[in-house]
């Protein structure tokens, strides 16, 4: 943790974010890897233990990540990335003025993630939005249904293989329509 470490400890000096260190100590094996991106810390964790991971980050007296700021999902279709989806949890600590991002990897065909709604009430509508827009189901959610689109809508619009749904505009010969990627 410091550059003045003894030589026999130098190669195991832990320079990770404190959230990563304490999470690894509290729940060994849950943290797959840590990413540092432009000053932000991203923890990629095990899908089945996401509730325990978030609870640990919240209840740890040194971390105190008490607020779930955002819960969203990313579709990496067409970018040669496996797995296809990431579900992203953004946590904020009021006590330490610190933020951390927690990611769960979801592969296509197995789009189920344990719901964190029992612990974080704000996740109720955020998970409904992810379910509506990306089609990822949350097991244990008390009321999983569409929130933005009508209840009988058939597609998951934010997936990258779902077209935008544009209407052709008349007399627009000089302006080419947007092509889907």
């Amino acid at each position: 943790m410091s550059i003045e470490a003894k030589p026999e400890q130098a190669e195991t000096a832990d320079t990770r974010h404190p959230a990563a260190q304490r999470l690894d100590a509290a729940l060994p094996g849950a943290l797959h890897r840590t990413l540092e991106q432009r000053g932000q810390t991203v923890l990629v964790v095990d899908r089945e233990r996401i509730r325990d991971v978030l609870a640990s980050l919240r209840d740890d007296p040194a971390l105190q990540f008490g607020m779930l700021a955002d819960l969203t999902a990313v579709d990496y279709l067409g970018m040669d990335r496996e797995p296809r989806f990431n579900v992203v949890y953004n946590l904020l600590s009021f006590a330490n003025n610190n933020r951390v991002t927690v990611k769960v990897e979801v592969s296509e065909g197995d789009e189920v993630v344990p719901s964190v709604t029992p612990d974080w009430p704000t996740a109720n509508w955020l998970e409904r939005e992810v379910f509506d827009m990306m089609g990822i189901r949350f097991s244990g959610h008390p009321d999983l249904r569409r929130i933005l689109m009508p209840h009988d809508w058939q597609t998951n619009p934010q997936r990258k293989d779902v077209p935008l749904g544009e209407e052709p505009v008349a007399f627009s010969d000089n302006v080419p329509p947007n092509e889907p990627a």
């Binding site: 009508p150 749904g165 544009e166």
Partner: protein, 185 residues
């Protein structure tokens, strides 16, 4: 409940309507109306256009400009329209101010059906007229796909003066209406 469509104007069959289907008609007249009834026609049109009571239907950003239009500087009360009714049954004008999403479309249809005749519709802004800049899955491309529109007010958002111009055009349209329907035969 059945809705009768006549020339793209939906008429609720449970309300008393003139047999010709014209929702603003009051009576059938054989021959020309004459002096008294023509001026009664003008009086009815003037009273209808001078006291248009809108229903509060601000959906998005255009609602801000609609509020500004009814506020002090651009005072919609000059035109008798300061009284926005929360209940559609008490209103005769619906100003669709903002984006109409797919989820909202059945609701606006229901509110329009609940309004009593005579009723008029102003599509305020680009999104209510044609979908605006949002040409995608979530936004209905113009509220005239759901309800019939009398006046379109373009703009994103239209300034209060433009909305007032639209309301004045609607008043001119109302002044041109005939409340008498010629008798058949």
């Amino acid at each position: 409940m059945g809705v009768i469509e006549r020339d793209s104007v939906a008429v609720n069959p449970r309300l008393p309507i003139h047999p010709s289907g014209n929702p603003t008609a009051l009576a059938t007249k054989t021959g020309s109306p004459g002096f008294v009834l023509t001026n009664l026609n003008r009086l009815v049109n003037w009273s209808r256009s001078s006291a248009l009571w809108p229903v509060t239907f601000g959906l998005a950003c255009c609602a801000m400009e609609m509020m500004a239009t009814s506020a002090a500087r651009y005072d919609l009360g000059r035109f008798g329209a300061e009284l926005f009714r929360p209940s559609p049954r008490q209103a005769d004008l619906i100003i669709v101010a903002g984006r109409l999403s797919q989820k909202m479309a059945p609701a606006i249809r229901q509110i329009y059906d609940q309004m009593a005749d005579p009723k008029w519709v102003i599509a305020m802004g680009d999104c209510a007229s044609c979908g605006g800049i949002f040409n995608n899955y979530a936004i209905v491309q113009g509220c005239d796909k759901v309800i019939p529109v009398d006046v379109y007010v373009p703009g994103c958002p239209p300034r209060p003066e433009q909305l007032i111009d639209g309301i004045m055009k609607l008043q001119q349209k109302i002044m041109m209406e005939g409340i008498y329907v010629p008798a058949q035969g």
